[in-house]
Protein backbone atom coordinates (compact mmCIF):
# COMPACT_ATOMS: atom_id res chain seq x y z
CA UNK A 1 0.00 0.00 0.00
CA UNK A 2 1.16 3.51 -0.67
CA UNK A 3 1.85 5.31 2.59
CA UNK A 4 2.85 8.50 0.83
CA UNK A 5 6.37 8.60 2.13
CA UNK A 6 8.34 11.75 1.44
CA UNK A 7 11.35 11.49 -0.82
CA UNK A 8 13.63 11.41 2.21
CA UNK A 9 11.60 8.72 3.92
CA UNK A 10 11.65 6.69 0.72
CA UNK A 11 15.42 7.10 0.67
CA UNK A 12 15.79 5.95 4.29
CA UNK A 13 13.56 2.96 3.71
CA UNK A 14 15.43 1.93 0.56
CA UNK A 15 18.78 2.28 2.28
CA UNK A 16 17.62 0.12 5.19
CA UNK A 17 16.22 -2.42 2.75
CA UNK A 18 19.49 -2.60 0.85
CA UNK A 19 21.44 -3.11 4.06
CA UNK A 20 19.01 -5.81 5.13
CA UNK A 21 19.16 -7.65 1.82
CA UNK A 22 22.90 -7.43 1.36
CA UNK A 23 24.32 -7.40 4.86
CA UNK A 24 21.78 -8.92 7.22
CA UNK A 25 19.95 -11.74 5.45
CA UNK A 26 23.12 -13.53 4.29
CA UNK A 27 24.43 -13.81 7.85
CA UNK A 28 21.31 -13.97 10.01
CA UNK A 29 21.29 -17.71 10.39
CA UNK A 30 24.91 -17.80 11.47
CA UNK A 31 24.39 -14.92 13.90
CA UNK A 32 21.42 -16.74 15.36
CA UNK A 33 23.18 -20.07 15.74
CA UNK A 34 26.35 -18.62 17.17
CA UNK A 35 24.46 -16.05 19.25
CA UNK A 36 26.96 -13.55 17.92
CA UNK A 37 26.53 -9.81 18.40
CA UNK A 38 26.02 -8.14 14.98
CA UNK A 39 29.00 -5.79 15.05
CA UNK A 40 29.47 -6.07 11.30
CA UNK A 41 25.94 -4.88 10.66
CA UNK A 42 26.30 -2.03 13.16
CA UNK A 43 29.40 -0.94 11.28
CA UNK A 44 27.44 -0.81 8.05
CA UNK A 45 24.58 1.05 9.75
CA UNK A 46 27.07 3.61 11.09
CA UNK A 47 28.75 4.04 7.72
CA UNK A 48 25.35 4.55 6.19
CA UNK A 49 24.51 7.24 8.78
CA UNK A 50 21.47 5.38 10.07
CA UNK A 51 22.72 5.31 13.67
CA UNK A 52 22.26 9.06 13.80
CA UNK A 53 18.82 9.14 12.25
CA UNK A 54 16.92 10.46 15.31
CA UNK A 55 19.69 12.67 16.68
CA UNK A 56 19.34 16.39 15.87
CA UNK A 57 21.65 17.87 13.23
CA UNK A 58 23.42 20.06 15.82
CA UNK A 59 24.77 16.86 17.38
CA UNK A 60 25.79 15.30 14.08
CA UNK A 61 22.58 13.48 13.26
CA UNK A 62 19.59 14.07 11.02
CA UNK A 63 16.77 14.99 13.37
CA UNK A 64 14.31 12.49 11.99
CA UNK A 65 11.43 11.28 14.11
CA UNK A 66 9.76 8.20 15.36
CA UNK A 67 8.30 7.37 11.94
CA UNK A 68 11.64 7.26 10.14
CA UNK A 69 13.04 5.09 12.95
CA UNK A 70 10.10 2.76 12.46
CA UNK A 71 10.84 2.49 8.74
CA UNK A 72 14.40 1.38 9.45
CA UNK A 73 13.44 -1.01 12.24
CA UNK A 74 10.75 -2.58 10.06
CA UNK A 75 13.16 -3.20 7.20
CA UNK A 76 15.88 -4.61 9.44
CA UNK A 77 13.33 -6.87 11.14
CA UNK A 78 12.23 -8.27 7.81
CA UNK A 79 15.74 -9.72 7.76
CA UNK A 80 16.50 -10.34 11.42
CA UNK A 81 14.62 -9.35 14.57
CA UNK A 82 17.82 -9.63 16.61
CA UNK A 83 19.68 -7.11 14.49
CA UNK A 84 16.67 -4.81 14.60
CA UNK A 85 16.40 -4.86 18.38
CA UNK A 86 20.09 -4.09 18.70
CA UNK A 87 19.54 -1.03 16.54
CA UNK A 88 16.35 -0.06 18.39
CA UNK A 89 17.85 -0.54 21.87
CA UNK A 90 20.64 1.84 20.92
CA UNK A 91 18.03 4.51 20.30
CA UNK A 92 16.23 3.54 23.50
CA UNK A 93 19.43 4.17 25.44
CA UNK A 94 20.09 7.49 23.75
CA UNK A 95 16.55 8.90 23.85
CA UNK A 96 16.69 9.91 27.56
CA UNK A 97 19.81 11.98 26.88
CA UNK A 98 18.30 13.48 23.76
CA UNK A 99 14.88 14.15 25.37
CA UNK A 100 15.87 15.18 28.88
CA UNK A 101 19.63 15.70 28.95
CA UNK A 102 21.25 19.10 29.35
CA UNK A 103 23.38 20.79 26.71
CA UNK A 104 26.70 19.48 28.10
CA UNK A 105 25.42 15.93 28.22
CA UNK A 106 24.08 16.11 24.67
CA UNK A 107 27.31 17.59 23.38
CA UNK A 108 29.36 15.01 25.16
CA UNK A 109 27.47 11.89 24.14
CA UNK A 110 25.22 12.39 21.14
CA UNK A 111 27.80 13.09 18.38
CA UNK A 112 29.53 9.75 19.05
CA UNK A 113 26.18 8.00 19.05
CA UNK A 114 25.19 9.71 15.81
CA UNK A 115 28.36 8.47 14.14
CA UNK A 116 27.92 5.01 15.53
CA UNK A 117 31.21 5.30 17.39
CA UNK A 118 29.40 4.50 20.62
CA UNK A 119 26.46 2.20 21.25
CA UNK A 120 23.81 2.82 23.91
CA UNK A 121 21.65 0.72 26.20
CA UNK A 122 18.81 1.42 28.59
CA UNK A 123 18.61 -0.09 32.06
CA UNK A 124 15.30 -0.23 33.90
CA UNK A 125 14.21 -3.84 34.43
CA UNK A 126 15.31 -5.76 37.53
CA UNK A 127 14.74 -9.29 38.73
CA UNK A 128 11.83 -8.24 40.92
CA UNK A 129 10.72 -5.35 38.76
CA UNK A 130 9.47 -6.53 35.40
CA UNK A 131 5.94 -5.49 34.58
CA UNK A 132 5.97 -3.73 37.94
CA UNK A 133 8.72 -1.34 36.95
CA UNK A 134 8.07 0.77 40.01
CA UNK A 135 9.48 -2.01 42.18
CA UNK A 136 13.08 -1.31 41.24
CA UNK A 137 15.64 -1.46 44.04
CA UNK A 138 18.88 -0.21 42.53
CA UNK A 139 19.94 2.71 44.65
CA UNK A 140 21.90 5.87 43.94
CA UNK A 141 23.05 7.59 47.08
CA UNK A 142 24.49 11.06 46.78
CA UNK A 143 27.90 11.50 48.34
CA UNK A 144 29.57 14.84 47.66
CA UNK A 145 29.77 15.35 43.91
CA UNK A 146 28.96 11.76 43.18
CA UNK A 147 26.20 9.20 43.33
CA UNK A 148 27.03 5.74 44.61
CA UNK A 149 25.06 3.11 42.68
CA UNK A 150 24.30 -0.34 44.03
CA UNK A 151 22.07 -3.00 42.58
CA UNK A 152 21.56 -5.18 39.52
CA UNK A 153 19.66 -4.52 36.30
CA UNK A 154 18.44 -7.56 34.43
CA UNK A 155 17.97 -8.48 30.75
CA UNK A 156 19.49 -5.31 29.42
CA UNK A 157 19.61 -5.32 25.62
CA UNK A 158 23.06 -4.35 24.30
CA UNK A 159 24.37 -4.90 27.86
CA UNK A 160 28.10 -5.48 27.87
CA UNK A 161 28.45 -4.41 24.22
CA UNK A 162 27.26 -0.82 24.64
CA UNK A 163 29.49 2.04 25.75
CA UNK A 164 26.80 4.34 27.17
CA UNK A 165 24.05 3.27 29.55
CA UNK A 166 21.09 5.22 30.83
CA UNK A 167 20.13 3.65 34.13
CA UNK A 168 17.15 4.28 36.39
CA UNK A 169 17.97 4.09 40.09
CA UNK A 170 16.38 5.27 43.34
CA UNK A 171 17.90 8.41 44.82
CA UNK A 172 15.24 8.46 47.50
CA UNK A 173 13.76 5.11 48.49
CA UNK A 174 11.18 6.68 50.75
CA UNK A 175 9.44 8.38 47.84
CA UNK A 176 8.93 5.19 45.84
CA UNK A 177 8.84 5.84 42.13
CA UNK A 178 8.94 9.57 42.73
CA UNK A 179 12.37 8.94 44.19
CA UNK A 180 13.74 7.45 40.94
CA UNK A 181 16.39 9.26 38.87
CA UNK A 182 18.09 8.63 35.52
CA UNK A 183 21.88 8.46 35.15
CA UNK A 184 24.34 8.19 32.32
CA UNK A 185 26.92 5.48 32.90
CA UNK A 186 29.89 4.54 30.80
CA UNK A 187 31.38 1.14 30.31
CA UNK A 188 34.57 0.85 32.32
CA UNK A 189 33.45 2.89 35.33
CA UNK A 190 34.70 1.46 38.61
CA UNK A 191 32.14 -0.79 40.21
CA UNK A 192 30.19 -1.27 36.98
CA UNK A 193 30.31 -4.81 35.61
CA UNK A 194 28.23 -7.21 33.58
CA UNK A 195 26.61 -10.55 34.18
CA UNK A 196 26.80 -13.43 31.72
CA UNK A 197 25.11 -13.27 28.35
CA UNK A 198 21.61 -14.70 28.62
CA UNK A 199 20.58 -17.66 26.49
CA UNK A 200 17.39 -16.68 24.74
CA UNK A 201 14.70 -18.37 22.70
CA UNK A 202 14.88 -15.83 19.90
CA UNK A 203 16.59 -12.57 18.85
CA UNK A 204 19.71 -14.49 19.72
CA UNK A 205 22.27 -12.30 18.07
CA UNK A 206 21.29 -9.45 20.34
CA UNK A 207 23.17 -9.22 23.63
CA UNK A 208 21.18 -9.46 26.84
CA UNK A 209 23.07 -9.14 30.11
CA UNK A 210 22.86 -8.01 33.69
CA UNK A 211 24.31 -4.66 34.65
CA UNK A 212 25.91 -4.98 38.07
CA UNK A 213 26.64 -1.94 40.23
CA UNK A 214 28.85 -2.35 43.27
CA UNK A 215 29.58 1.00 44.86
CA UNK A 216 29.76 2.41 41.36
CA UNK A 217 30.63 6.11 41.57
CA UNK A 218 28.84 8.27 39.03
CA UNK A 219 29.65 12.00 38.80
CA UNK A 220 26.66 14.21 39.59
CA UNK A 221 26.83 15.81 36.13
CA UNK A 222 25.70 12.43 34.79
CA UNK A 223 22.28 12.84 36.36
CA UNK A 224 19.68 13.34 33.63
CA UNK A 225 17.17 16.07 34.47
CA UNK A 226 16.58 16.37 38.16
CA UNK A 227 16.40 13.89 41.00
CA UNK A 228 13.00 12.24 41.09
CA UNK A 229 12.41 12.54 37.33
CA UNK A 230 13.68 9.03 36.63
CA UNK A 231 10.40 7.24 36.29
CA UNK A 232 8.90 9.96 34.12
CA UNK A 233 11.96 9.88 31.89
CA UNK A 234 11.66 6.11 31.59
CA UNK A 235 7.98 6.18 30.77
CA UNK A 236 8.25 9.00 28.23
CA UNK A 237 11.17 7.25 26.58
CA UNK A 238 9.24 4.02 26.34
CA UNK A 239 6.24 5.83 24.90
CA UNK A 240 8.54 7.14 22.17
CA UNK A 241 10.11 3.81 21.37
CA UNK A 242 7.13 1.50 21.70
CA UNK A 243 5.98 2.05 18.10
CA UNK A 244 9.45 0.77 17.19
CA UNK A 245 8.52 -2.60 18.68
CA UNK A 246 5.38 -2.40 16.57
CA UNK A 247 7.55 -1.78 13.53
CA UNK A 248 9.81 -4.65 14.50
CA UNK A 249 6.74 -6.89 14.71
CA UNK A 250 5.50 -5.78 11.30
CA UNK A 251 8.93 -6.44 9.81
CA UNK A 252 9.27 -9.92 11.30
CA UNK A 253 5.74 -10.79 10.13
CA UNK A 254 6.46 -9.44 6.66
CA UNK A 255 9.65 -11.50 6.39
CA UNK A 256 7.85 -14.69 7.43
CA UNK A 257 4.95 -13.97 5.12
CA UNK A 258 7.24 -13.50 2.12
CA UNK A 259 8.99 -16.79 2.85
CA UNK A 260 5.70 -18.63 3.17
CA UNK A 261 4.29 -17.10 -0.01
CA UNK A 262 7.39 -17.97 -2.00
CA UNK A 263 7.47 -21.48 -0.63
CA UNK A 264 3.79 -22.07 -1.30
CA UNK A 265 4.36 -21.40 -4.99
CA UNK A 266 7.38 -23.70 -5.18
CA UNK A 267 6.19 -26.57 -3.05
CA UNK A 268 4.27 -29.22 -4.92
CA UNK A 269 2.00 -31.77 -3.27
CA UNK A 270 -0.76 -33.84 -4.82
CA UNK A 271 0.70 -32.81 -8.16
CA UNK A 272 0.31 -29.06 -7.79
CA UNK A 273 1.68 -26.03 -6.02
CA UNK A 274 0.29 -25.82 -2.52
CA UNK A 275 -0.58 -22.18 -3.28
CA UNK A 276 -3.38 -23.52 -5.43
CA UNK A 277 -5.13 -24.92 -2.37
CA UNK A 278 -7.74 -22.69 -0.84
CA UNK A 279 -6.69 -23.67 2.69
CA UNK A 280 -3.30 -22.12 2.01
CA UNK A 281 -4.70 -19.20 0.02
CA UNK A 282 -6.95 -18.11 2.87
CA UNK A 283 -4.13 -18.29 5.36
CA UNK A 284 -1.97 -16.14 3.09
CA UNK A 285 -4.78 -13.66 2.59
CA UNK A 286 -5.36 -13.35 6.32
CA UNK A 287 -1.66 -12.95 7.01
CA UNK A 288 -1.26 -10.19 4.44
CA UNK A 289 -4.34 -8.37 5.68
CA UNK A 290 -3.21 -8.53 9.30
CA UNK A 291 0.25 -7.27 8.43
CA UNK A 292 -1.14 -4.36 6.46
CA UNK A 293 -3.49 -3.41 9.30
CA UNK A 294 -0.64 -3.53 11.82
CA UNK A 295 1.61 -1.49 9.56
CA UNK A 296 -1.09 1.14 9.03
CA UNK A 297 -1.58 1.47 12.78
CA UNK A 298 2.14 1.64 13.57
CA UNK A 299 2.71 4.26 10.88
CA UNK A 300 -0.28 6.31 12.01
CA UNK A 301 0.89 6.31 15.64
CA UNK A 302 4.47 7.17 14.70
CA UNK A 303 3.25 10.06 12.59
CA UNK A 304 0.94 11.16 15.41
CA UNK A 305 3.91 11.26 17.78
CA UNK A 306 6.03 13.16 15.23
CA UNK A 307 3.23 15.68 14.76
CA UNK A 308 4.09 16.97 18.24
CA UNK A 309 1.46 15.18 20.27
CA UNK A 310 1.93 15.59 24.02
CA UNK A 311 0.09 12.51 25.27
CA UNK A 312 0.35 9.31 23.27
CA UNK A 313 0.79 6.45 25.74
CA UNK A 314 -2.44 4.82 24.67
CA UNK A 315 -1.78 5.01 20.93
CA UNK A 316 1.77 3.90 21.38
CA UNK A 317 0.62 0.91 23.43
CA UNK A 318 -1.99 0.02 20.81
CA UNK A 319 0.59 -0.05 18.05
CA UNK A 320 2.89 -2.33 20.04
CA UNK A 321 0.11 -4.59 21.26
CA UNK A 322 -1.62 -5.10 17.94
CA UNK A 323 1.45 -5.51 15.80
CA UNK A 324 3.20 -7.94 18.13
CA UNK A 325 0.15 -10.19 18.41
CA UNK A 326 -0.03 -10.15 14.61
CA UNK A 327 3.65 -11.03 14.36
CA UNK A 328 3.18 -14.09 16.55
CA UNK A 329 0.15 -15.14 14.59
CA UNK A 330 1.69 -14.62 11.15
CA UNK A 331 5.00 -16.30 11.94
CA UNK A 332 3.20 -19.30 13.45
CA UNK A 333 1.11 -19.63 10.31
CA UNK A 334 4.18 -19.22 8.11
CA UNK A 335 5.73 -22.22 9.85
CA UNK A 336 2.43 -24.06 9.43
CA UNK A 337 2.25 -23.37 5.70
CA UNK A 338 5.79 -24.60 5.28
CA UNK A 339 5.05 -27.68 7.35
CA UNK A 340 7.99 -29.86 8.30
CA UNK A 341 10.32 -27.68 6.28
CA UNK A 342 9.15 -24.64 8.18
CA UNK A 343 10.02 -26.37 11.42
CA UNK A 344 13.55 -27.06 10.23
CA UNK A 345 16.35 -24.60 10.78
CA UNK A 346 17.18 -24.80 7.06
CA UNK A 347 14.44 -22.25 6.53
CA UNK A 348 14.25 -18.93 8.34
CA UNK A 349 10.63 -19.04 9.50
CA UNK A 350 11.19 -21.02 12.69
CA UNK A 351 13.68 -18.34 13.74
CA UNK A 352 11.17 -15.66 12.85
CA UNK A 353 8.60 -17.39 15.02
CA UNK A 354 11.07 -17.51 17.92
CA UNK A 355 11.98 -13.87 17.32
CA UNK A 356 8.34 -12.81 17.17
CA UNK A 357 7.53 -14.13 20.63
CA UNK A 358 9.62 -11.52 22.42
CA UNK A 359 7.68 -8.68 20.83
CA UNK A 360 4.69 -9.69 22.93
CA UNK A 361 6.85 -9.60 26.03
CA UNK A 362 9.43 -6.86 26.12
CA UNK A 363 9.04 -3.11 26.51
CA UNK A 364 5.97 -3.93 28.53
CA UNK A 365 4.12 -7.23 28.10
CA UNK A 366 1.00 -7.10 26.00
CA UNK A 367 -0.99 -7.48 29.22
CA UNK A 368 0.60 -4.29 30.54
CA UNK A 369 -0.12 -2.59 27.20
CA UNK A 370 -3.77 -3.49 27.64
CA UNK A 371 -3.64 -1.99 31.14
CA UNK A 372 -2.21 1.22 29.75
CA UNK A 373 -4.87 1.39 27.06
CA UNK A 374 -7.69 0.57 29.44
CA UNK A 375 -6.54 3.05 32.07
CA UNK A 376 -6.36 5.75 29.46
CA UNK A 377 -9.85 4.89 28.21
CA UNK A 378 -11.33 4.94 31.69
CA UNK A 379 -9.58 8.19 32.50
CA UNK A 380 -11.02 9.69 29.36
CA UNK A 381 -14.50 8.41 30.16
CA UNK A 382 -14.35 9.93 33.62
CA UNK A 383 -14.17 13.36 32.05
CA UNK A 384 -17.44 12.76 30.20
CA UNK A 385 -20.53 14.35 31.63
Amino acid sequence: MNYFLTEEQEMIKNLARKITDEKVIPIRQELDEKEEFPWEVLKVLSQSDLMGLFIPPEYGGFGFGCFEMCLVIEELSRGCGGVAVTFAANALGAYPIFLFGNEEQKKKYLPDVARGKKICAFGLTEAEAGSDAAAIRTSAIKQGNEYILNGTKQWITNGGEADIYTVIALTDKSKGIRGASAFILEKGMDGFSFGKKEKKMGIRCSATRELVFEDCRVPQENLIGREGMGFLIAMKTLDMTRPGIGAQSVGIAQGAFEEALKYSRERKQFGQSISSFQAIQHMLADMATQIEAARALVYAVARFIDSGAKEFSRESAMAKLFASDIAMNVTTNAVQIMGGYGYMRDYPVEKMMRDAKITQIYEGTNQIQRNIIALSLIKEASSWR
Binding site: M11, I12, L15, K18, I19, Q47, S48, D49, L53, F62
Partner: protein, 261 residues
Protein backbone atom coordinates in the same frame (compact mmCIF):
# COMPACT_ATOMS: atom_id res chain seq x y z
CA UNK B 1 45.43 12.22 -5.14
CA UNK B 2 43.15 12.98 -8.07
CA UNK B 3 41.35 9.84 -9.14
CA UNK B 4 39.01 9.25 -12.05
CA UNK B 5 36.74 6.22 -11.93
CA UNK B 6 35.20 5.10 -15.19
CA UNK B 7 31.84 3.49 -14.70
CA UNK B 8 29.15 2.15 -16.95
CA UNK B 9 25.47 1.74 -16.44
CA UNK B 10 24.36 -1.77 -17.36
CA UNK B 11 20.94 -3.37 -17.38
CA UNK B 12 20.13 -5.07 -14.11
CA UNK B 13 18.29 -7.95 -15.66
CA UNK B 14 19.76 -10.23 -18.25
CA UNK B 15 16.75 -9.83 -20.48
CA UNK B 16 18.07 -7.64 -23.20
CA UNK B 17 16.46 -5.93 -26.11
CA UNK B 18 18.25 -5.26 -29.35
CA UNK B 19 17.52 -2.62 -31.91
CA UNK B 20 17.18 -4.66 -35.11
CA UNK B 21 18.30 -1.75 -37.27
CA UNK B 22 21.48 -0.68 -35.56
CA UNK B 23 22.09 -4.03 -33.85
CA UNK B 24 22.95 -2.16 -30.73
CA UNK B 25 21.46 -2.77 -27.34
CA UNK B 26 18.32 -0.92 -26.41
CA UNK B 27 18.71 0.14 -22.81
CA UNK B 28 15.74 2.43 -22.28
CA UNK B 29 13.35 -0.22 -21.06
CA UNK B 30 15.53 -1.98 -18.53
CA UNK B 31 16.46 -0.74 -15.06
CA UNK B 32 20.05 0.37 -15.00
CA UNK B 33 22.62 -0.35 -12.31
CA UNK B 34 26.30 0.46 -11.96
CA UNK B 35 28.29 -2.32 -13.61
CA UNK B 36 29.07 -4.56 -10.61
CA UNK B 37 32.82 -4.64 -11.35
CA UNK B 38 32.86 -0.83 -11.34
CA UNK B 39 31.63 -0.86 -7.75
CA UNK B 40 35.05 -2.23 -6.76
CA UNK B 41 36.71 0.56 -8.73
CA UNK B 42 34.64 3.17 -6.90
CA UNK B 43 35.38 1.60 -3.53
CA UNK B 44 39.12 1.49 -4.18
CA UNK B 45 39.10 5.12 -5.27
CA UNK B 46 37.22 6.15 -2.13
CA UNK B 47 39.63 4.22 0.09
CA UNK B 48 42.61 5.89 -1.55
CA UNK B 49 40.98 9.28 -1.09
CA UNK B 50 40.22 8.56 2.56
CA UNK B 51 43.84 7.60 3.10
CA UNK B 52 45.60 10.19 0.99
CA UNK B 53 43.12 13.01 0.49
CA UNK B 54 42.23 14.40 -2.91
CA UNK B 55 39.22 14.01 -5.10
CA UNK B 56 37.33 11.25 -6.86
CA UNK B 57 35.56 11.99 -10.13
CA UNK B 58 33.24 9.45 -11.70
CA UNK B 59 33.09 9.45 -15.48
CA UNK B 60 30.57 7.62 -17.58
CA UNK B 61 29.40 7.52 -21.15
CA UNK B 62 25.84 6.55 -21.89
CA UNK B 63 22.29 7.64 -22.48
CA UNK B 64 20.82 10.44 -20.30
CA UNK B 65 19.45 7.93 -17.79
CA UNK B 66 23.01 6.85 -16.95
CA UNK B 67 22.91 9.98 -14.78
CA UNK B 68 21.17 7.82 -12.15
CA UNK B 69 24.22 5.61 -11.87
CA UNK B 70 26.45 8.63 -11.44
CA UNK B 71 24.15 9.85 -8.68
CA UNK B 72 24.51 6.47 -7.05
CA UNK B 73 28.29 6.90 -7.27
CA UNK B 74 27.90 10.25 -5.51
CA UNK B 75 25.80 8.61 -2.79
CA UNK B 76 28.74 6.31 -2.12
CA UNK B 77 31.07 9.26 -1.62
CA UNK B 78 32.35 10.23 -5.07
CA UNK B 79 32.94 14.00 -5.23
CA UNK B 80 32.07 14.85 -8.78
CA UNK B 81 30.43 13.15 -11.72
CA UNK B 82 30.53 13.71 -15.45
CA UNK B 83 28.30 12.06 -18.00
CA UNK B 84 29.26 11.95 -21.65
CA UNK B 85 25.96 11.79 -23.39
CA UNK B 86 25.10 12.60 -26.93
CA UNK B 87 23.17 10.90 -29.69
CA UNK B 88 26.33 10.66 -31.73
CA UNK B 89 28.12 8.70 -28.97
CA UNK B 90 25.57 5.89 -29.25
CA UNK B 91 26.58 2.52 -30.63
CA UNK B 92 30.25 2.94 -29.77
CA UNK B 93 32.47 -0.12 -29.68
CA UNK B 94 35.40 -0.38 -27.30
CA UNK B 95 37.73 1.69 -29.47
CA UNK B 96 35.27 4.56 -29.92
CA UNK B 97 34.40 4.39 -26.23
CA UNK B 98 38.05 4.55 -25.22
CA UNK B 99 38.59 7.49 -27.57
CA UNK B 100 35.60 9.41 -26.21
CA UNK B 101 36.58 8.79 -22.59
CA UNK B 102 40.18 9.75 -23.34
CA UNK B 103 39.16 13.06 -24.88
CA UNK B 104 36.95 13.85 -21.88
CA UNK B 105 39.78 12.97 -19.49
CA UNK B 106 42.06 15.29 -21.45
CA UNK B 107 39.59 18.04 -20.75
CA UNK B 108 39.54 17.15 -17.04
CA UNK B 109 43.34 17.21 -17.44
CA UNK B 110 44.21 16.76 -13.74
CA UNK B 111 44.54 13.16 -12.61
CA UNK B 112 46.99 10.77 -10.99
CA UNK B 113 45.14 7.52 -11.35
CA UNK B 114 42.29 6.13 -13.43
CA UNK B 115 40.46 3.11 -12.07
CA UNK B 116 38.15 0.89 -14.11
CA UNK B 117 36.34 -2.35 -13.27
CA UNK B 118 37.98 -5.31 -14.99
CA UNK B 119 35.12 -5.62 -17.45
CA UNK B 120 31.43 -4.86 -17.83
CA UNK B 121 28.70 -7.34 -17.18
CA UNK B 122 26.94 -6.71 -20.48
CA UNK B 123 29.81 -6.40 -22.92
CA UNK B 124 32.29 -8.63 -21.08
CA UNK B 125 35.14 -7.37 -23.27
CA UNK B 126 37.61 -5.99 -20.67
CA UNK B 127 39.03 -3.88 -23.51
CA UNK B 128 38.13 -0.32 -22.68
CA UNK B 129 40.60 0.05 -19.79
CA UNK B 130 43.79 -0.91 -21.66
CA UNK B 131 42.59 0.84 -24.82
CA UNK B 132 41.89 4.04 -22.88
CA UNK B 133 45.35 3.99 -21.27
CA UNK B 134 46.91 3.75 -24.71
CA UNK B 135 44.82 6.64 -26.01
CA UNK B 136 46.05 8.75 -23.09
CA UNK B 137 49.63 7.59 -23.53
CA UNK B 138 49.82 6.31 -19.95
CA UNK B 139 50.73 2.89 -18.57
CA UNK B 140 48.14 0.45 -17.36
CA UNK B 141 47.96 -2.67 -15.24
CA UNK B 142 44.91 -4.91 -15.67
CA UNK B 143 43.36 -7.29 -13.12
CA UNK B 144 44.72 -5.55 -10.04
CA UNK B 145 43.82 -7.41 -6.85
CA UNK B 146 45.64 -5.20 -4.36
CA UNK B 147 47.35 -1.84 -4.10
CA UNK B 148 50.40 -2.28 -1.92
CA UNK B 149 51.93 1.14 -1.84
CA UNK B 150 51.15 4.58 -3.22
CA UNK B 151 53.75 7.29 -3.70
CA UNK B 152 53.34 10.62 -5.39
CA UNK B 153 54.78 9.41 -8.67
CA UNK B 154 54.34 5.65 -8.55
CA UNK B 155 52.22 2.84 -7.23
CA UNK B 156 52.97 -0.78 -6.42
CA UNK B 157 50.27 -3.25 -7.39
CA UNK B 158 49.44 -6.92 -7.36
CA UNK B 159 48.14 -8.18 -10.68
CA UNK B 160 46.15 -11.39 -10.87
CA UNK B 161 47.31 -13.83 -13.51
CA UNK B 162 46.29 -17.45 -14.09
CA UNK B 163 48.84 -19.02 -11.74
CA UNK B 164 49.08 -16.43 -9.00
CA UNK B 165 49.91 -12.77 -8.96
CA UNK B 166 52.66 -10.46 -10.13
CA UNK B 167 53.86 -7.39 -8.29
CA UNK B 168 54.30 -4.42 -10.57
CA UNK B 169 55.48 -0.88 -10.02
CA UNK B 170 53.71 1.60 -12.25
CA UNK B 171 54.55 5.28 -12.72
CA UNK B 172 51.75 7.77 -12.25
CA UNK B 173 49.66 8.95 -13.94
CA UNK B 174 48.45 5.50 -14.85
CA UNK B 175 45.39 3.31 -15.21
CA UNK B 176 44.37 0.14 -13.42
CA UNK B 177 41.50 -2.24 -13.87
CA UNK B 178 40.44 -3.98 -10.68
CA UNK B 179 39.07 -7.42 -9.87
CA UNK B 180 36.59 -8.12 -7.13
CA UNK B 181 39.20 -9.61 -4.81
CA UNK B 182 40.47 -6.07 -4.21
CA UNK B 183 37.85 -4.94 -1.68
CA UNK B 184 34.29 -5.13 -0.49
CA UNK B 185 32.24 -2.23 -1.81
CA UNK B 186 30.40 -0.13 0.72
CA UNK B 187 26.74 0.71 0.73
CA UNK B 188 25.61 4.30 0.25
CA UNK B 189 25.21 6.63 3.20
CA UNK B 190 22.19 8.75 3.97
CA UNK B 191 24.28 11.91 3.68
CA UNK B 192 25.62 10.71 0.35
CA UNK B 193 22.13 9.92 -0.87
CA UNK B 194 20.91 13.37 0.09
CA UNK B 195 23.84 14.97 -1.66
CA UNK B 196 23.28 12.79 -4.69
CA UNK B 197 19.73 14.06 -4.94
CA UNK B 198 20.68 17.66 -5.35
CA UNK B 199 24.22 17.69 -6.75
CA UNK B 200 24.73 18.78 -10.32
CA UNK B 201 25.96 16.11 -12.71
CA UNK B 202 27.93 17.62 -15.56
CA UNK B 203 26.69 16.44 -18.91
CA UNK B 204 29.06 16.79 -21.84
CA UNK B 205 27.93 16.41 -25.42
CA UNK B 206 29.91 16.47 -28.68
CA UNK B 207 30.44 20.20 -28.46
CA UNK B 208 31.62 20.29 -24.87
CA UNK B 209 35.03 18.78 -25.36
CA UNK B 210 37.49 18.31 -28.13
CA UNK B 211 36.47 15.39 -30.31
CA UNK B 212 36.53 14.39 -33.92
CA UNK B 213 33.00 13.38 -34.73
CA UNK B 214 33.99 10.56 -37.03
CA UNK B 215 35.84 8.86 -34.18
CA UNK B 216 32.87 8.50 -31.81
CA UNK B 217 29.74 6.37 -31.69
CA UNK B 218 28.73 3.92 -34.36
CA UNK B 219 30.58 6.03 -36.91
CA UNK B 220 33.86 5.77 -35.04
CA UNK B 221 33.56 2.06 -34.32
CA UNK B 222 35.59 -0.22 -36.54
CA UNK B 223 33.69 -3.26 -35.33
CA UNK B 224 30.11 -3.84 -36.08
CA UNK B 225 27.61 -6.32 -34.77
CA UNK B 226 25.93 -8.00 -37.67
CA UNK B 227 23.91 -10.57 -35.90
CA UNK B 228 22.69 -11.07 -32.40
CA UNK B 229 21.07 -14.33 -31.53
CA UNK B 230 20.08 -16.38 -28.55
CA UNK B 231 22.30 -19.33 -27.77
CA UNK B 232 20.65 -22.70 -28.03
CA UNK B 233 18.24 -23.00 -25.15
CA UNK B 234 18.43 -26.06 -23.05
CA UNK B 235 15.78 -28.65 -23.43
CA UNK B 236 14.22 -29.67 -20.16
CA UNK B 237 15.10 -32.95 -18.61
CA UNK B 238 16.68 -34.99 -21.35
CA UNK B 239 17.65 -38.38 -20.02
CA UNK B 240 20.52 -39.79 -22.00
CA UNK B 241 19.87 -43.35 -23.13
CA UNK B 242 22.07 -46.24 -24.16
CA UNK B 243 24.94 -48.00 -22.43
CA UNK B 244 27.44 -46.16 -20.28
CA UNK B 245 29.93 -45.49 -23.04
CA UNK B 246 27.28 -44.06 -25.29
CA UNK B 247 25.83 -41.96 -22.43
CA UNK B 248 29.24 -40.51 -21.68
CA UNK B 249 29.81 -39.91 -25.39
CA UNK B 250 26.47 -38.10 -25.68
CA UNK B 251 27.18 -36.00 -22.62
CA UNK B 252 30.57 -34.94 -23.93
CA UNK B 253 28.92 -33.99 -27.22
CA UNK B 254 26.32 -31.93 -25.37
CA UNK B 255 29.08 -30.13 -23.53
CA UNK B 256 30.81 -29.47 -26.82
CA UNK B 257 27.61 -28.18 -28.40
CA UNK B 258 27.07 -25.76 -25.57
CA UNK B 259 30.70 -24.65 -25.83
CA UNK B 260 31.58 -25.72 -22.35
CA UNK B 261 34.57 -27.61 -23.69
Amino acid sequence: MEIIVCIKQVPESTEVKINPQTKTLVRESVKGIINPFDMYAIEEALRLKEKLGGKVTALSMGPPQAEESLREAISLGVDEAILLSDKSFAGADTLATAYTLAQAIKRISQFDLIICGKQTMDGDTAQVGPSLAEKLGIPHVAYVRKINEVKTDSIILEQMVEEGYRRIKMSLPGLITVVKEINEPRLPSLRGKMRAKSVEILIWGVNDFNIEKEKVGLEGSPTQVIKIFAPQRRKKGEILQGDIDSQVEQLVNKLKESRVI
